[in-house]
Amino acid sequence: MSDEMTSMERVLAALSFKEPDRVPLFHMLTIYGAKESHVSIKEYFSKPELVANAQLSMQQKYKHDCLYPFYYAALELEAWGSESIYFDNAPPNSGRPIIDDFGDVLSLEAPDVLESSGMGMVLETTRILKEHAGEDIPIVGVVMSPFSLPVMQMGFGEYLDLIYGEPDIFSELMKVNKKFSVQWANLQVQAGATVICYFDPVSSSTIIPPELYRKTGFKVAQKTISEIKAPVATHMASGRCLPIIDDIAETGSAVVCTSVLEDLAEVKSACAGKMSVLGNLNGIEMIRWTQQDAESKVKDAIEKAAKGGGYIMSDNHGEIPYQVSEDVLLSISNSVRKFGKYL
């Protein structure tokens, strides 16, 4: 087969465990668009058209197979009243937590996504992308899982204390967060997102043990994903997923992203026929890769995961760092086209 499928056809074939013309590639570019547009990250994320234009021009440049209207995780927290902290060369971070005391949870209400100007901008970016891409290129929307959001809402140590020590308050918080995540995901679907990436790294086995996941993050994911009106990819943001792979499949996820800390071949075979695999290039190490490094990492991933479809290549975190060079991104793209062809 020649390289003439549209990105959408390529991705859909892969997701239905068929071999398309070549391995699909997702360059998950976020703040990288600010570099592309020669503006500060703060300015970049204040203009939805700028983000959309950068997404489109980067897709042309790198010829990868998705558009990614995701801004940054802390943006969701802005809807809850938190202020984000901006940096020159890194993604914004969430500011002060909005929950100071576990008791605060009992009076917490989910904000209406439609009233958040930041999330409105993401929706606007998504609509512009949809206008341009139509059915040719998948648009990947993002939600933080109700289970991972609390790290930003209250702080990580505090949240672990809550999970272990206050199961009732924990489940109240999950109800509120679920309402928010579902509304957010479905508004993105309405605006044109083809697939929703469900960022849930707190569920990863890097962070909590599988037994605890089955009682907490798993149940939350199952309920939330069942209400999202598009296929869902579970993303562990480079946390491990292998010990809970069967459970993740049972949440209704169509795709899972694995970490570079795990063996891609092992993850692929554990997912066989159940979920497709996304990953697992090391975005941080990528900063010092040579073009040869890029080529050999791409080849290696293809060898481990491409056979039979069910595989999309990407970095393992869902975001290419600002410091990665364009040459390396181009090498990855070129290598996928060169070595990722299915016969």
């Binding site: 140590g157 672990l160 795990e262 941080i284």
Partner: protein
């Protein structure tokens, strides 16, 4: 000694099952009033280090290590109060995040060090210049830096430059997520050492200061 090895693995099981009461009782039963360091070094630290090693290979989760180090910190405070003069003969240590607001890594490192009997200076997220001033004032011998975001990992370079320019000889040990994903990064930013896991911090401190455990 053999007895302590058995007790240490028992202690580890209590930590992993979050059985704080049993963990505390095990140590209290062995405590004679002047063997705190022995219990720390032969029962508690081996258990914590073991948990840390298992986290590195992915067979234990971070939440378990976090809970375990918290429990240990609390137990150590009961047998070796923070104001104990015995804590003063050890190298002077500081922990910092260089501006990174993500505190959990630092918190676990601090708990592990406190659980080993150290008193430490916690500089929170103060920026490099202010940190350097404090390092001099407090005569810090080893500074342990934890960052979660890559941009703050690069701040270690500014810290090292600042130390070099002002003739500060304090050692810098780094750790945190970015260092786990690039094993060259710690050298690139001019640190003296890195550890994959918070429980390893202690042995790195001993290595750098030449103090024997």
């Amino acid at each position: 000694m053999v007895l302590y090895t058995t007790l240490s693995s028992q202690f580890k099981q209590y930590l992993l099952s979050l059985n704080k009461v049993a963990a505390k009782r095990l140590i209290q039963d062995e405590f004679t009033g002047d063997n705190a360091f022995q219990l720390i070094q032969q029962i508690m630290m081996p258990a914590l280090e073991n948990i840390g090693k298992e986290w590195e290979v992915g067979s234990i989760a971070l939440s378990q290590e976090y809970m375990a180090s918290n429990i240990c910190e609390e137990i150590v405070n009961s047998i070796l109060p923070p104001e104990s003069p015995k804590r003063r003969d050890m190298p002077v240590l500081g922990v910092a995040t260089l501006g990174d607001q993500h505190m959990l890594g630092k918190q676990i490192v601090a708990s592990c060090l406190k659980a080993s009997g150290f008193s430490i200076f916690d500089y929170g997220a103060i920026p490099v210049d202010e940190l350097a001033t404090n390092v001099v004032k407090d005569a810090i011998e080893v500074l342990l830096v934890s960052t979660l975001m890559l941009n703050f990992a690069y701040e270690v370079k500014s810290l090292r430059n600042c130390f070099n320019e002002t003739g500060i000889s304090t050692n810098i040990i780094v750790g945190g997520a970015p260092f786990l994903f690039d094993d060259e990064l710690w050298k690139q930013v001019g640190a003296d050492a890195m550890a994959l896991d918070a429980t390893e911090a202690l042995s790195k401190v001993y290595e750098l200061t030449g103090v024997v455990e």
